[in-house]
């Protein structure tokens, strides 16, 4: 099975995809700093929003995809926003400002990630001095995320195949054991992957006793 979620549109060929990833990363980080420190007026917010929309259009990223990506992070954001009025004096203004800042940052993040190929992104992270181990972990997450999703889908199919006509809610009863199974499978896989790495000369120092 082939999967593509967050890297669905990263293989397109548009000016934004072709842009040097180092420059793109620099602009992205600069934009984040700008958004985080400036006092955002409504006009500034609208201009930034317009600019991002234009960039999304140039990169040919579909609107639905963008909304879906943003929706993933939204619950966390909303959770924080609703608590701000409880602890601050000038309540809703601060909440609104935080929301605007976060929304712009998330959109910029979505734009950056969906127009940069993940392996390229990892290389850039390494080149700006992110520790090798973090980059390695991210690279494994990227590689095995797709394997895990495939495994989960197969398990879900197996459950559905043996529970015809059952309501979805009943299926979730089996979800915890499915998750447990997934963890055990992953653990076993990690052992095999580590063996595969060792066989190709990987040495993290554990061999030397």
């Amino acid at each position: 099975m082939r999967h593509s979620f967050f890297d669905k549109y990263s293989e397109l060929d548009t000016p934004i995809h072709r842009m040097n990833p180092k420059i793109k990363l620099a602009i992205f980080l600069f934009f984040l700093v700008l958004v985080s420190f400036l006092k955002i007026h409504l006009i500034f917010f609208l201009i930034a929003l317009g600019l991002l929309s234009v960039l999304f259009a140039i990169a040919r990223i579909p609107f639905v995809f963008i909304v879906k990506r943003i929706a993933v992070i939204m619950p966390f954001l909303i959770f924080i926003i609703i608590f701000i009025p409880l602890f601050q004096d000038n309540t809703w203004a601060v909440a609104g400002l935080t929301f605007a800042r976060a929304l712009l940052s998330i959109m910029a993040l979505v734009l950056f990630i969906s127009t940069t190929r993940f392996p390229q992104l990892l290389k850039e992270l390494e080149s700006i001095g992110v520790p090798k181990m973090i980059v390695e972990i991210l690279s494994f997450i990227y590689r095995y995320f797709f394997v895990l999703v495939g495994e989960l889908e197969r398990m879900e199919l197996a459950v559905k195949a043996r529970a015809p006509g059952k309501k979805h809610r009943l299926l979730y009863k089996g979800f915890s054991s499915m998750l447990g199974m997934l963890i055990i499978h992953s653990y076993e896989r990690s052992e095999r992957v580590y063996q595969a790495m060792q066989l190709r000369g990987y040495d993290d120092g554990r061999d030397e006793e």
Partner: protein, 244 residues
């Protein structure tokens, strides 16, 4: 001539006490292609893992005459190219290029030599141009060939293939067989695809309960009805017409 790989009375039990290898003794000579067959649980995969020093049991494993021990394992290991049954275990890097380069980089090749090794490994599995692809975008057949390329790039003395033809469609299987056939190095193929063994192997070993139950010419062994049944195997279809 010293065998490239040799087991001498090798024994291994899993932590739960299951005896996986029980006095395995066999040799693999330079340039030959040897098949290892046997029922599930006969110890095929265990033997292959032991050959790379991934398991430590009793007895000896010799690689080019040198006994494998804790100190020299990481040195001797690089002579053995192990292709796992499941390519998803073997391909762990984000792109095909980085995956194939992983081994050569660990051998401390220069950057240009790494690039050269990756290029020629991809060429030998006929996947030139796949460098920047992600493994999760490949078909199973392509994954298997990339997995083969990852070990070929390290220029091993022995190639070990654990069930190479499982999950492949007939076309991909054929491609893989011709690929293995074209290799000049010592190759050990384990699995249940007896037809493939007939085509590829100069010699086969039948493993049963952790030791060699029979050894010899594939056609001769595979047409021996009693032997095959004793070892929970079956005479391959292509040989059946002649024996009846």
């Amino acid at each position: 001539m010293t065998p490239v790989l040799e087991f001498v009375d090798y024994r291994y039990s899993y932590p739960d006490g299951t005896k996986a290898l029980d006095g395995l003794t066999c040799q693999f000579g330079s340039g030959e292609t040897v098949g290892i067959v046997g029922p599930n649980g006969a110890g095929k995969t265990t033997a292959l893992l032991a050959a790379c020093g991934l398991l430590t049991g009793k007895g000896e494993v010799r690689i080019q005459g040198t006994v494998l021990n804790k100190k020299n394992t990481s040195d001797l290991r690089k002579h053995i190219g192990f292709v796992f049954q499941n390519p998803d275990d073997q391909l762990f890097m984000p792109t095909v290029y980085e995956d194939i380069a992983f081994g050569p980089k660990n051998l401390h090749y220069s950057d240009s030599r790494v690039a050269e090794a990756v290029h020629s490994a991809l060429e030998s599995v006929e996947l030139t141009g796949y460098e920047e692809k992600s493994s999760h975008h490949l078909s199973t057949g392509e994954k298997k060939r990339v997995a083969l390329a990852t070990v070929l790039a390290m220029d091993p003395k022995v190639l070990i293939l654990d069930e190479p033809s499982t999950n492949l469609d007939p076309h991909s299987r054929r491609q893989l067989i011709s690929l293995i056939e074209s290799m000049r190095i010592t190759t050990i193929v384990a699995g249940h695809d007896l037809e493939m063994m007939l085509e590829l192997c100069d010699r086969v070993l039948i493993l049963d309960q952790g030791k060699v139950a029979a050894e010899g010419d594939p056609e001769e062994l595979f047409s021996d009805e009693v032997l095959m049944e004793q070892n929970l195997l079956e005479i391959p279809y292509s040989l059946r017409q002649y024996t009846n």
